[in-house]
Point group: C2
Chain length 193, copies 2
DNA sequence: ACCTGAACACCGTTCAAGT
DNA sequence: ACCTGAACACCGTTCAAGT
């Protein structure tokens, strides 16, 4: 029988991706193998290759999709400092939900390099609010993203104190550093309200 | 014959570590396997396990040793801003020489958690110069290390522009952000000279 | 004490074959 | 078009055996 050792539906790329992401959430990057994934889907390992070029391509697709779905704070008209904080918190929360996925992204930053991603739109809007010039926008965004991802990774890897209070204080320190760094960034930083 | 398919010496932990680091430098984390390492050393794969508990333990030892050997800038009496910059540059240079090793460290931050490491000594000295209080020292150090490692990783992974000039400007932006972040950190930042 | 070969339980992926 | 089994070239590691 070649038709289906499976239940009903004939294996879609969406089902493959969501199951793979779940395996990563549960068991880390090491917890995802093509063979385990196939077993989880009740399918022959080789069937996966009909929907996906390689494990690497699958991981790239999982990460890009999940990153695109990260909930982002709306433009609520509050000062840029508050909005930057909200954005960093959103990233932090999503990374805590999918630590293995974001670890993989950190090691393969090209996945998140597409400047049409909403993440970049929101960050650029906030940086403009903070008074960053168009010329500096791209560079400043890259550096801040690297800072935040470095911090969030250290945090979810357990490099920083584990108790709720310690995390909050570390987070405050990180945001504080970035905000004052931006404010001292040359031209008058915008002071809304 | 069980005595030696090898040349002369009987396989030391130092030789194992330095060869393994070279393999990582040449072929990335994926370029290091216990079997390739053994082949490189003209030895049976299983012989390695007489000097090392596991691949994970070997990697931890390689990273800890290499991190401890990272050249650090001396206390040259210059302002803390210049010294912070010099420290970040030293880290950047070392990471460029051993990118796979530092990538592994970033994913296993406990390797670099030992506060007796010279890296932390130097960073704490600079932060004290910058006016950071003892109470904030540990936390601020953690956050800055996370920032710098995040930035350096993004850079060596090619997430930032590749040309020499672009890298320099990104580096300037990163240092600028950190310095002004620290300077705005509350109490009067020290202004030497 | 140090090294080895065979074996085990895994990987990702190719390829020819099935319906 | 979609799925499969067998096979290939790899992994890390255990274990009993050699000197």
């Amino acid at each position: 029988m070649a038709v289906s050792a499976r239940r009903g539906a004939p294996l879609s790329i969406e089902e493959i991706c969501s199951t793979a992401l779940r395996l990563m959430d549960e068991g880390g990057v090491a917890g995802l193998s093509m063979r385990k994934l196939a077993a989880e889907l009740n399918v022959n390992p080789m069937s996966l290759y009909h929907h996906v070029d390689s494990k690497e391509a699958l991981l790239a697709q999982i990460c890009a999709t999940a990153a695109e779905r990260m909930p982002l704070p709306p433009d609520d008209g509050t000062p840029w400092q508050a909005q930057l904080r909200a954005l960093a918190l959103a990233y932090h929360r999503h990374a805590r939900e999918h630590p293995a996925m974001w670890t993989y992204v950190q090691n393969h930053p090209e996945i998140v390099a597409d400047r049409r991603m909403k993440l970049w739109e929101v960050l650029y809007r906030i940086l403009r609010l903070a008074g960053v010039t168009e010329e500096e926008l791209h560079r400043t965004g890259d550096v801040l993203y690297a800072f935040v991802s470095g911090f969030v990774m250290a945090e979810i890897r357990g490099h920083l104190p584990a108790d709720r209070e310690g995390i909050d204080r570390d987070f405050d320190t990180a945001i504080h550093l970035m905000i004052h760094g931006l404010a001292g960034f040359g031209r008058q930083a915008a002071h809304p309200d």
